[in-house]
């Protein structure tokens, strides 16, 4: 009896260790450090600095604004793409092609875009044929937005595609049967019933977009400075780990807010599709 109870308990050990070491401990450390000032004394100094400084607040607004833009553009591209891929005959193959870029390291992709956008890059070479340019593409806000959107698209397409796949085709037929046009069927049935997939997509795009830092430097030319860049600077350049952690905590709080806002409150009912 006690033996069995022990073995049951033992099953939880790996998961407990994992969560303890890789989830709880890092978050606890970040929170702990965020209360240490430069002299390693316990204080609220970092938080005070953050909320008093217009630079940090602007940076926060900036991060949210850019993450918002990236999410919107990603959604605008991903929903129709997922919708059309889902109608295609070899949907799984097309989906694989969409996912494939995620197998390539983000830095490699960033460098590839430098090759495309730079003064001597492919686009400028092409424009040169018509006697235009060279134009400045790299290190502009537009190029940052473009590349960030490109990188996030697969993470938005996948959950939307799955939501569309889960949608019972009878619902579409039922809507058409009751006299709805294609557009009415989409807006009254397909969209509301795939909203959980859209929300999941927003979560998996918006949250990482808040803390993008490599792209801001390599593609955005540090013109866009987000909280991610600030954290990197504090940890690697100014060595102010306390301040870096404080910004980290702010980001975690922002993420929690997003999760709550996009959370599926009636998840038990929304899931009932079949």
């Amino acid at each position: 009896m006690s033996n069995r109870r022990f073995s049951n308990w033992a099953f939880y050990v790996p998961y407990g260790l994992w969560i303890g070491l890789f989830v709880i401990a890092p978050v606890a450390l970040i929170i702990y450090q965020s209360f240490l000032n430069l002299d390693h004394h316990f204080s609220l100094e970092n938080y005070a600095t953050f909320f008093k400084s217009s630079t940090y607040l602007m940076m926060t607004v900036n991060s949210v604004w850019w993450a918002f833009l990236i999410t919107i553009f990603t959604l605008l591209i991903s929903y129709p793409t997922a919708y059309f891929i889902h109608q295609l005959k070899h949907a799984q193959l097309w989906l694989l092609l969409v996912i494939m870029p995620t197998w390539i390291n983000i830095l490699l992709k960033a460098y590839a875009f430098i090759g495309i956008f730079s003064q001597s890059g492919i686009i400028n070479q092409f424009l040169g044929l018509f006697g235009i340019g060279p134009e400045q593409f790299l290190f502009t806000n537009a190029s940052f937005l473009f590349v960030a959107t490109y990188i996030q698209i697969p993470f938005m397409i996948l959950p939307i595609y799955n939501a569309l796949d889960d949608l019972n085709p009878s619902f579409i037929n039922a809507s058409r049967d009751l006299g709805a046009t294609n557009w009415q069927t989409f807006s009254k049935v397909t969209w509301p019933l795939t909203l959980p997939g859209v929300k999941a997509g927003i979560q998996s795009v918006f949250i990482p977009s808040l803390s993008l830092f490599m792209l801001t430097r390599l593609i955005g030319g540090n013109k866009v400075i987000t909280l991610g860049t600030a954290i990197e600077e504090h940890f690697l350049t100014t060595m102010n780990w306390g301040m870096g952690s404080t910004i980290g905590v702010i980001l975690i709080i922002a993420m929690v807010i997003i999760m709550i806002l996009t959370g599926d409150r009636k998840s038990s009912e929304g899931r009932l599709t079949r």
Partner: protein, 373 residues
Amino acid sequence: MVEPIVSLKNVHKRYGDAEVLKGITIDLEQGKFYTLLGPSGCGKTTILRIIAGFSDATEGDVYFNGDRINDLPANKRKVNTVFQDYALFPHMNVHDNVAYGLNLQKTAKNEIDDRVQQALTSVRLADYGNREISELSGGQKQRVAIARAIVMQPKMLLLDEPLSALDAKLRRDMQYELRDLQERLGITFLFVTHDQEEALAMSDEIFVMNVGQVLQSGSPVDIYDEPINHFVADFIGESNILTGKMIRDYEVEFVGKRFECADGGMAPNEPVEVVLRPEDLDITTVDDGKLTVTIDSQLFRGDYYEIIAYDGDHNEWLIHSTNPATDGETVGLTFEPYDIHVMRLHESEAEFDARIETYTEETPEDEGAASHE
């Protein structure tokens, strides 16, 4: 002849090389309860989908009130469907589900409320408007699906195996309710099922289908009493099917004996199949019996005993009897001449009807009436 509300003329449906429908021609009249009956994969649901507009005919024409509607999209057709899985929108409550089609038509708010309430009342769910779909039982979902379709006042209601997900008791209740609803509303029902009992109980007319063809159509009684071939006889109800030989009109030979029967119009000594329904066989003494069989086993089915017996030639006989038999006992089986139904091999429905015409006129009234009007 009443103008049919929906007609299919030589409709074919192919998916690549697979031909799902092989030339379906049916006429459906206003106000009747029709059933497409067949095993799964026979194409019955495809017919429904073609009439509803979810699928199109590869070949052939679909007419609605005399107009060809092959190219009319589903949302413009005056037919509504009750889906097998109900397809109730999970993000709307009962009222909004039923009001869905009316809202699209921009019907006035109070008219919508009235009609929704009326439709819900007719399926006995008057107080369920505010319920969420997830709070409903299977039978209730079924009724909401019906209410959502009839609120549109369609000329024709298509029902795709709507009772298949319900338990036996509820199914029987819903059969009565559906039949009653159809009679009250006076709209044409086209009901798809693989359950022959359901089809026999509810329909004005049944189309028996197999592998993309309508094998036989007619009233439940006609189809049960006069199946045209082995498949129909076997699929509708239970039967003892034996090979035999038509000696001459009104005399047939099977299991090595000759019997008087009520069929005719065939060539002398033509090979045939003979159907004897298990409920038409009566157990009697060996001396009184037309056949002698030995009881092998029996099952109590509640309202009858299902008895399996073998004759001297090892033919299996299925008998339904209200009284139990004794296993191993040798008994006689008796039946009346009109209990024997003779089927020609490879006879089409048109040929069957034509043959019936030729000999029913000369048949004495009492014999002919039992088999065919």
